[in-house]
Amino acid sequence: MKIKEKIIELVLKFFASITILTTVGIIVVLLFESIAFFKSVSILDFLTDTQWTPLYSEKHFGILALVSGTFLTAAIAIAVALPIGLTIAIYLNMYAPKSFRKVLKPFLEILAAIPTVVYGFFALTIVTPFLQTIYPDLETFNSLSAGIVMGIMIIPFISSLSEDALHAVPKSLKLASFGMGATRFQTAFKVMVPAASSGIIVSIILAISRAIGETMIVAIAAGQQPQLTLDPTVPVQTITSYIVQVSMGDAPQGSIEYKTIFAAGLTLFLFTFILNSISFYIKKKYQEKYE
């Protein structure tokens, strides 16, 4: 019996450690290949050059061109998702009857379940042509429609997590505010949102993290032209879509083109790692405020 218990424990431990080993493995590979990359390209060039042209004959390795595309699309996505997501969260928490809430929440979460490739061609074939009827100079590939569609995709991240945060605010605060003669609107914005702010911030950070890491939508709809720009109407390239482009191309293993994707991947990982750490820290620091 005892041996059986031991074996079971070992098996469980093994599977649990797989996740840790995988993470460590990925980080190690990223680091090693990136170090190899930085042997041929100086970190200074990598961080300050404004052009990213590793696939051309005249090579530049300025990651800023990809970072700007990444953050431009993510910023547009957040600009769409934050007001809508937060409005939905407040509506669900403060106004919606329970029965409607039960229907709306799963519906919202379907948005996150739609395959991103569907969002991608939705952006390219429907949103972009529609935006072109309003603004004819909009190019076929642009960060605007990719960002908007990505924003729609991440609405549930913000609405669901923010609603959870609002829900966690003690009911007594809501009642105290109502008892003072506050309207639902005043209660929502003067008591509930400030009291839930840490959870709402976490939801926004996770949504940004998701937007930065999103690949398919931007690869399809935002274009493949790395450029340092804040113009949402022109094609850009994000870190993720660059990695797709090279991975699917025929960059020979060990070549400098091949190594760039690890450096780009490491950069991306750093961003999402920092964002997730911030949200982890906020969660830890504020979660027990009311207990």
């Binding site: 329970k98 003690p170 007594s172 605060l173 009642l175 105290a176 505010s177 109502f178 008892g179 003072m180 003669g181 506050a182 309207t183 005043q186 003067k190 008591v191 400030p194 009291a195 405020k289 009311y290």
Partner: protein, 280 residues
């Protein structure tokens, strides 16, 4: 315990309280601040209040007593319509405050609640500074005049006997205060809006004896300006601070009279049983 409950069906049915002194005065407008007629409350299918008529006089302290689940808190929350947020809440009957039925369709509930302040069982300060907590009610009314807000905050904190303890730390988070201080802060927050009726739902049940004594003293002083209704499980508290006491049982108002009368010579057997601690 249960075998000592001596409540007959006959007694339960007779909820109309024969208290000629009170009923007579209610015919004069000024003599009643709150008047209820045939009030019944349901939560879904559960009938929580089974028809209560009651008159509460101005500048008095009325204590609501009774065992848990007897409907006293539900009844209290009718006066500022806080039950409106409870799912499945239904109500019948009339509640008049200063002569106006507060359950009419056109009633401005927010306005009503500025007139009728409420203090809750557990201290529930907002996660804001001490100052912002007390100023909250003024800010939501759109008052921008800083001088006026400062004055009102100071006055309310003084009324709640908290000013001396916090005057140098008004920017400090209210959550850093002790439980007793938090409850006095909640009272100050309510007073800052200058209501004329105060509803207190077991305001000292979560506090230590010293904080409780402070709040009781405070309630005693507030009587001059306010009509106060306090729900309490503490018999001594009811007898110490209130002018009138109402005993509730199973959604009925069993007995309602001057506190002295209730505690020395109650009319009904079950009132006596309850206040002497034989059940509840």
């Amino acid at each position: 315990m249960a075998k000592e409950i001596e409540i007959t069906m006959e007694n339960i049915k007779s909820t109309k309280i024969d208290s000629p002194e009170i009923v007579d005065e209610s015919t004069q407008q000024n003599a009643s601040r709150i008047e209820t007629k045939g009030v019944k409350v349901w939560y879904d299918d559960f009938m929580a209040i089974k028809g209560i008529d009651m008159v509460i006089k101005p500048n008095t302290i009325t204590a609501f007593i009774g065992p848990s689940g007897c409907g006293k808190s539900t009844f209290l929350r009718l006066f500022n319509r806080m039950n409106d947020y409870v799912e499945g809440f239904k109500m019948e009957g009339k509640i008049k405050i200063d002569g106006d039925n507060i359950y009419k369709k056109k009633v401005n509930v927010e306005q009503l609640r500025k007139e009728i302040g409420m203090v809750f069982q557990k201290p529930n300060p907002f996660p804001k500074s001490i100052f912002d907590n007390v100023a909250y009610g003024l800010q939501i009314q759109g008052i921008k005049d800083k001088k006026l807000i400062n004055e009102r905050v100071e006055k309310a904190l003084k009324q709640a006997d908290l000013w001396e303890e916090v005057k140098d730390n008004l920017k400090k988070s209210a959550l850093a205060l002790s439980g007793g201080q938090q409850q006095r802060l909640c009272i100050a927050r309510t007073l800052a809006v200058q209501p004329s009726i105060l509803l207190m739902d077991e305001p000292t049940s979560a506090l230590d004896p010293i904080s409780t004594a402070k709040i009781e003293e405070l309630i005693h002083h507030l009587k001059e300006e306010y009509t106060i209704i306090i729900v309490t499980h503490n018999m001594q508290q009811a007898s110490r601070i209130s002018d009138y006491t109402a005993f509730f049982y199973l959604g009925e108002l069993i007995e309602y009279d001057k506190t002295r009368k209730i505690f020395t010579n109650p009319e009904k057997k079950q009132t006596e049983n309850y206040i002497t601690g034989r059940f509840g």
